[in-house]
Amino acid sequence: MAEDKSEILQGTLDLMVLQTLDAMGPLHGYGIARRIEQISEDVLQLNQGTIYAALLRLQQRRWISSSWGTSDNNRKAKFYSLTKAGRRQLATEAENWQRVAGVIGRLLRLSER
């Protein structure tokens, strides 16, 4: 059960991370987590640590890359940025997502009637 839930979350989280990096440019883990929470208007309350599983997964797939830098508040932090492959992947994933979301939305509307 728990496994299934995280599976769904996994793909979603990956997409959110990619999208965040695309929109905001290079960002550290905390920044990404905070941004996702803000956008979701705190609907999505995640353990911020879980973001790192997604970051590692995306790195291993070479969709994002990372390097150490300095944050606005002058703290050392690791910054993640989208690679070319990541940008391509985001495009595909987003399209997929929209298609699936569209289908599900229609389905829900249908059953409402």
């Binding site: 550290h28 883990g29 905390y30 920044g31 905070r34 353990n47 911020q48 640590g49 879980t50 790192y52 599983a53 590692l56 997964r57 790195q59 291993q60 797939r61 070479r62 944050s71 508040n73 703290r75 050392k76 932090a77 690791k78």
Partner: protein, 883 residues
């Protein structure tokens, strides 16, 4: 796909950079928490609260870290690597233990691997021919003559070829002795300097039957089997290299082979041999075509045939038996009761060696089990002293599977190191074998470490730790609480180790009994009277080239001249010559009739030897009755000397001297020959084989070329041979001495196989015994060290040292007694298998069993004595204070 590859690549690199990446991630988490805490502080939280909330929102940094670690690398490989690292560290901390275990395993794995290289060379590696498993040797059988597999008569072979439909073809060859060694020694002249070479003479289709193409030139054609087309020669790769220096223009070159000029038509590939590596050339038989039409006697052709595709050996046997029956009907004169026997070529070539090799391989497998038991015992002993460590690790949360895996990794590491050393030992085998026992292996076999051998050794290295490591690992890892460690744990270990001692002792007894049986066989064999006096006698063969000495009378004259010259050499006591020397594996046999018997009652398989009068003196043959031959006995005198076996068989209970026999069947027109003397039986085929009826006819009456000279002297062999060589050269400087040896050497070589297997099996048994003793000692020493407190109390309470000594010895000997009993039962069951290897002892020889048990008991007592002494000398004060 690409994505998956990049994940794998990153995981592999992650596995190797684990520590650095962990640190990197720690810093990242730290910065994450710090930044979050900054935000919370900015919203007005206290320092303390900001930090706590940050940690809470992050959710278990440690868990995240471990999760991250696992996702980053290859967790399975990583724990394995960790196990290996840990094992290496543990082993390095106990160098003594590690050294003993690795050495023991190296001996075990090395010994099995060595024997496997031999098994592979002799029994498993395919012969270098096309589809070698389709090659069959056809031999003839005849119950009347006691033949179980004899070379064929050429006309019979010709009929087989014409009538069968089961073989693509049948080829024949001559010139090998009963070990398959080439007996056709010739001299190949290159630039006038003759070089001795061995070869065989074949029918023209031999290479086609074998299905082997030459490296250079061509092979023979069928018409080249016959006289007139026979001046053709095929060389082995070795002869081409050594005699002709690898001359690329060798094909078509004219050479001189023992006085005849021949043309080299082909060179065979480097890996090729037939029938074994002693053959350096293949010549045509050069017989008259008539031979293949008429000659159904004598038998001298060895055959090799190739089964037609789809034909089974059974079908071939059926048809060939039918053909033999047809021939028997058509030629009752020669073929009565003449049957055929078909066996795969490889089986025939390996037949003599197979029982010895399988026996030794079995022995070495037993040795391997003993090695594993020994190492298991050592592991258990060490496991007992590791109880505390294991218990602590369990208490800290190590799972049992994890611990077993850890301990097995350690065992695997040990066995891999042992195997590496063992393979190095095994790699030395071929050289040692060839030096120590050149005649022990069939001539076609060349043991070497190849890929299957390495695979075999690797399999052993993997199997061994399961055998010796699993039980100790399970027993050791089952320790649950610290409290359990000392008493019950050690008792369980002692029981397990006692069982291993029983096992080791039992297997050792089997090996010791086997080796004592062989040792006693060899002793019996060495005590056999060869029928001649072998000390201080050198022998050598001289071949007179027919081109130079065409007539029999020339040959007799030259040999007589040579005999005279040899006799005049300083120190020489007697000189004789013979056509066929004993123990050389080469004889002429024929039918014989005894005067006065019925026309259909005649003897088969009479052996002929032509000898000069002084031959008996030179050999040291004893006269039993009548007289020896003398210089007046020639072709016209029609006299012969016979051996005791003949006198017994042909004239049971009567005096043979003065009676007449004829070398042929009653209806043949051979002259009657008078027996003038009976001499003691000389061994002909081996020290373990009874002498067959044999006649010694005057050399002058039946001259033979080549002749083997026998020189008895009081001079050492080396100067004697040198002097003899000069004497030969003085007659004709082109003549060479071949097959130079001493009679002692000949007798010794005839027992080469026996000595080889006895030495090896005794060696294995010795190692087994040593390991068993080590096992007994180890268990008992451990027992004493564990009980030193108890022993001390006993001493304090007045126990006498002698009683303690007896108690410890009793403790140690109990498993030995049980093991010996089991071993004896095993030996009784197994030694029956080696009956064919024994001589003069039965597999159940009581002396053997008694002495084996004696040896084992003495060794075991020796092993018990040291710990028992230590027990008897325990100082109560020290012992009690120890805990």
């Amino acid at each position: 796909m690409l994505t998956r590859l990049s994940v794998l690549a990153s995981r592999i690199s992650g596995a190797f950079n684990g520590r650095a990446l962990d640190q990197d991630f720690d810093r990242e988490v730290e910065s994450h928490l710090a930044m979050m805490a900054d935000d919370y502080r900015r919203r007005g939280m206290s320092e303390e609260e900001a930090r706590r909330t940050a940690r809470l929102r992050f959710g278990g940094p440690t868990q995240t870290r471990e999760d991250q670690h696992d996702r980053r690398g290859l967790p399975l490989v990583e724990t394995a690597l960790q196990d290996v690292r840990y094992a290496l560290r543990t082993l390095r901390r106990n160098p003594g233990f590690t050294f003993v275990v690795i050495l023991t395993l190296a001996v075990g794995i090395g010994a099995v691997t060595s024997m496997f290289t031999v098994v592979r060379a002799v029994l498993l590696r395919p012969l270098p021919y096309t589809q070698p498993d389709r090659l069959i040797e056809i031999s003839e059988t005849n119950p009347l003559k006691g033949w179980t597999h004899t070379v064929a008569a050429p006309a019979n072979v010709a009929d087989w070829r014409a009538r069968n439909t089961v073989f693509t073809d049948i080829a024949g060859y001559i010139g090998v002795d009963n070990r398959g060694a080439s007996q056709m020694q010739r001299f190949l002249s290159v630039n006038g300097e003759p070089q001795p070479v061995n070869g065989i003479a074949t029918t023209g289709n031999l290479f086609d039957v074998l299905g082997v193409r030459p490296l250079l030139g061509r092979t023979f054609t069928w018409s080249e089997t016959f006289d007139g087309n026979d001046r053709v020669l095929v060389l082995s790769y070795g002869a081409w290299q050594s005699v002709f220096g690898g001359d690329p223009g060798i094909v078509g070159r004219a050479v001189v082979l023992s006085g005849r000029s021949m043309t080299v038509v082909g060179v065979m590939p480097r890996d090729f041999f037939f029938p074994n590596r002693s053959a350096q050339f293949w010549a045509s038989m050069g017989v008259k075509p008539d031979v293949f039409v008429r000659m159904r006697r004598p038998h001298w052709l060895t055959t090799v045939a190739r089964l037609r595709p789809g034909v089974s050996l059974v079908q071939a046997r059926d048809q060939m038996t039918a053909i033999a029956t047809e021939l028997e009907r058509a030629y009752p004169d020669t073929n009565t009761k003449m049957g055929v026997r078909l066996e795969p070529l490889h089986d025939i070539m390996a037949a003599d060696a197979r029982p010895t090799i399988l026996m030794l391989f079995g022995a070495v497998a037993v040795l391997f089990l003993i090695v594993c038991a020994n190492v298991a015992s050592l592991q258990l002993g060490r496991g007992a002293s590791r109880m505390r460590e294991i218990a602590v690790r369990r208490a800290l949360g190590a799972g049992r599977t994890r611990l077993v895996r850890q301990l097995l990794t350690e065992a695997l590491l040990l066995s891999c190191l042992g195997a590496a050393l063992g393979i190095a030992l095994a790699a030395a085998t071929p050289a040692i074998l060839l030096r120590a026992a050149p005649s022990a292996l069939p001539l076609f076999a060349t043991p070497r470490i190849d890929f299957p051998v390495l695979l075999f050794a690797a399999a052993l290295a993997i199997v061994a730790p399961v055998v010796f490591g699993l039980a100790p690992a399970l027993s050791t890892s089952s320790v649950d609480r610290l409290a359990e460690r000392a008493e019950s744990g050690s008792r369980r270990t002692t029981v397990a180790r006692d069982l291993l001692v029983v096992f080791e002792v039992g297997l050792s007894v089997v090996l010791v009994v086997g080796s004592v049986l062989l040792i006693r066989s060899l002793i019996h064999l060495q005590q056999v009277d060869p029928g001649f006096a072998p000390d201080r006698v050198v022998t050598f063969k001289v071949t007179l080239p027919r081109v130079k000495y065409p007539k029999d009378t020339d040959q007799v004259r030259v040999f007589a001249d040579l005999e005279r010259r040899l006799r005049n050499l300083p120190g020489v006591e007697a000189v004789g010559a013979t056509s066929t020397l004993a123990l050389r594996g080469y004889t002429w046999t024929g039918d014989a009739s005894v005067e006065g018997r019925a026309a259909d009652d005649y003897e088969r398989e009479l052996r002929h030897e032509s000898v000069t009068p002084d031959y008996f003196a030179a050999m040291g043959t004893r006269l039993i009755a009548g007289r020896m031959l003398n210089e007046h006995d020639d072709a016209r005198s029609n006299v012969t000397v016979v051996n005791e076996a003949l006198a017994r068989k042909y004239f049971p209970g009567k005096d043979a001297v003065g009676r007449r026999i004829k070398f042929g069947r009653p209806q043949d027109s051979d002259p009657w020959i008078t027996i003038v003397g009976v001499v003691a039986d000389a061994k002909q085929d081996g020290m373990d084989k009874p002498a067959r009826p044999e006649v010694y006819v005057p050399f002058a009456a039946n001259a033979q070329n080549p002749a083997t000279f026998v020189v008895r002297s009081d001079v050492d062999a080396t100067p004697m041979v040198a002097a003899a060589r000069q004497a030969v050269r003085a007659i004709d400087r082109d003549l060479l001495l071949t097959e130079v040896t001493t009679l002692d050497g000949l007798v010794r070589d005839s027992m080469g196989d026996e000595r080889f297997r006895t030495t090896l099996l005794s060696g294995f048994a010795g190692v087994a015994l040593f390991l068993a003793v080590l096992g007994i000692y180890g268990v008992l020493a451990y027992f004493v060290s564990q009980r030193s407190r108890e022993l001390g109390i006993r001493v304090a309470l007045g126990a006498r040292p002698r009683a303690l000594f007896a108690m410890v010895v009793g403790q140690g000997m109990r498993p030995v007694a049980i093991g010996s009993a089991a071993g004896l039962a095993g030996a009784i069951a197994l030694t029956g298998l080696m009956e064919s290897l024994l001589f003069g002892v039965t597999p159940l020889d009581p002396i053997t069993y008694a002495s084996s048990i004696g040896v084992l008991a003495a060794s075991a007592l020796g092993a018990c004595a040291l710990p028992a002494l230590r027990a008897a000398r325990v100082d109560p004060l020290i012992a009690i204070r120890e805990e």
